[in-house]
Amino acid sequence: MALTHEQVEHIADLAKLGLTEEEIERFREQLSAILDYAAMLNRLDTAAIPPTASVLPLRNVMRMDEARPALSQADALANAPSAEGGYFQVKAVLE
């Protein structure tokens, strides 16, 4: 399964990951090789096999809706690259 240059660019865009031209070409080759290897799964007929997303038998885990101690606003913002007025600061999303 050979990926195209355009496919790799598309995936990088979905992942919001900037890549250089060299990285795109390298990942195109490496991901194609890994996907070729993964194609061995097609030897197995899994039509009747349910998927395992989690090994636990848990469904919904409930707890009481009670207030508990939480981080202060200052602690929560302490690692922010940019904060203002008690908020995380981001670039404008809309023009």
Binding site: L3, Q7, V8, I11, A12, L14, A15, K16, L17, G18, L19, E23, F27, Q30, L31, A33, I34, L35, Y37, A38, M40, L41, N42, L44, T46, I49, P50, P51, T52, A53, S54, V55, L56, L58, V61, R63, L71, D75, A76, A78, N79, A80, P81, S82, F88, V90, K91, A92, V93
Partner: protein, 506 residues
């Protein structure tokens, strides 16, 4: 014997009899770090001041006989001495686990500079047990790797041969324990990241059952697979550490609300009549002859100890690798979406808009393996490919679980090599991702099945340690520890230590 060479249980005995103090023990280990870590490079950061403060407090508590008087809100020990089972024991923490006030890097540039405002639940539990925290150990970036070569900072060196890798991703923790730079350590195991480095460094490492240990405060890699485990110089030490960190945590909804048994007590029951399965798939091509010989010899020792050995099959073993390398990257691509340069960590300034800010931050912050897995996972989850890759892998995961379900109807544990090879040379596999992924070929299936599994040293090949992997059913920790302990006491490989030359710096 030098103090840094002590095990945890030996130290507890000496501390309890006032033969040594926690300060002496901690100073000895800190001195050892100074003397050898320039060569081993196990630690990303060492915190000697707070370690000695922890140790001084431990000594005060032991002198007073109870806590009460000693208090400093977040760091307070509570309870009487018998409720502080690891009082004064210096341990190392893999740098993917949050410890309040100490930088957490995950071996990545993208978290610089991140200082967690809270402790992971495992850290809270260790603090309450009286542990002394030495520092944070090196790891492949976001725990993605099998050698620590994917760390953004440096590669850790194997104490048995400094030209070789320690394994990974918990290679810093395994090397620290092997080199006497910590009495024990925490690691994490997503696809083998505790067991494989334990094997390559000649220490004991256990991956508990998925859900046995809380993941709250562990930086997520692949959430359905990640599990915190313990590394020690012997089986008893691993069990003592696991005892403290295991148990239900309301902050992690996937943690199991099941009582924690007394692991140390379970060790000594012997293994007469225990049924041990040996899967033939674990001895195929790719296993080094010296590794196979050591593991076969270990199985013979189990026979001599009274175990009943049976050859058996885990027919889907060969599919574990492709299954894992679709599921783990898929989950990682979602988990690592949070590194956007907004709330913490690295952020590229002066981007024209938010989208470009995301792209540049992630481009500059992530290393090649993390980018590769984000790409692979994003592809496996993307429209048009989800069914063919991600869902397919989840279906095969069911088949792999069923292999083990069937195995544990006939056998109490399953054994084989932890790693197909001894420690490989630094640089040997960096250019070929698939070759690197094959280092975990025998540890992935247990992770996918969510069962418990450990690695215990079982001899040497080419002068390098070999690990015996012992896997048990869900919540079978007592059994795998018991088998490992019986083997360890008979084989006595723990007596052999690597000789790292001490440097004495001015």
């Amino acid at each position: 014997m030098k103090l840094h060479e002590l095990t945890i249980h030996e130290s507890l005995d000496l501390l309890g009899r006032r033969q040594i103090s926690a300060v002496e023990l901690t100073e000895a280990v800190l001195d050892r770090i100074v003397a050898v870590d320039n060569q081993v490079k196990a630690y990303l950061s060492v915190t000697p001041e707070s370690a000695l403060e922890d140790a001084r407090k431990a000594d005060e508590i032991r002198a007073v006989g109870a806590v009460g008087a000693i208090d400093r809100s977040s760091r307070s020990f509570v309870g009487a001495i018998h409720e502080l089972p690891l009082l004064g024991i210096p341990v190392a923490i893999k740098d993917v686990i949050c410890l309040a006030g100490v930088p957490t890097t995950c071996g990545s540039k993208i978290l610089e500079p991140f200082v967690p405002p809270y402790d992971a639940t495992v850290i809270t539990r260790l603090r309450k047990a009286g542990v002394v925290f030495l520092g944070k150990t090196n790891t492949d970036e976001f725990a993605m790797g099998s050698s620590t070569e994917n760390s953004a900072f440096f590669t850790t060196h194997n104490p048995w041969d400094l030209a070789r890798v320690p394994g990974g991703s918990s290679g810093g923790s395994a090397a620290a324990v092997a080199a006497g730079e910590a009495l024990g350590a925490l690691g994490t195991d997503t696809g083998g990241s505790v067991r494989q480095p334990a094997s390559l460094c000649g220490v004991v490492g256990i991956r508990p059952t998925y859900g046995r240990v809380s993941r709250y405060g562990l930086v997520a890699f692949a959430s359905s697979l990640d599990q915190i485990g313990t590394l020690g110089k012997d089986v008893t030490d691993c069990a003592l550490l696991l005892q403290v960190i295991a148990g239900h945590d309301p902050c992690d909804s996937t943690s199991l609300d099941v009582p924690v048994p007394d692991y140390a007590r379970a060790l000594r029951a012997g293994i007469r009549g225990l049924r041990v399965g040996v899967p033939r798939e674990f001895f195929g091509a790719g296993v080094q002859p010296g590794v196979e010989a050591a593991v076969r010899q270990a199985i013979q020792t189990l026979v001599e100890l009274g175990a009943e050995i049976g050859e058996m099959s885990l027919p889907h073993t060969e599919y574990a690798l492709p299954t894992y390398y679709l599921i783990a990257p898929a989950e990682a691509s979602a988990n690592l979406a949070r590194y956007d340069g907004v709330r913490y960590g690295y952020s590229v300034p002066d981007s024209p808009d938010i989208w470009e800010s995301y792209r540049r931050t992630r481009q500059q912050g992530f290393g090649p393996e993390v980018k590769r897995r984000i790409m692979l996972g994003t592809y496996a989850l993307s429209a048009g490919y989800y069914d063919a890759y991600y869902l397919k892998a989840q279906r095969v995961r069911t088949l792999i679980r069923q292999d083990f379900d069937q195995a544990f109807r006939r056998f109490d544990v399953v054994v084989g090599p932890t790693s197909p090879t001894v420690a490989f040379r630094i640089g040997e596999k960096v250019s070929d991702p698939l070759q690197m992924y094959l280092a975990d070929v025998f540890t992935l299936a247990q992770s996918l099945a969510g069962i418990c599994s450990l690695s215990v040293p079982c001899g040497f090949s080419e002068g390098l340690p070999v690990g015996l992997q012992i896997s048990g059913p869900v919540l079978g920790e007592e059994t795998v520890l018991r088998v490992a302990y019986a083997y360890e006491q008979a084989a006595e490989w723990y007596r052999q230590k690597p000789s790292v030359k001490e440097e004495h710096l001015q």
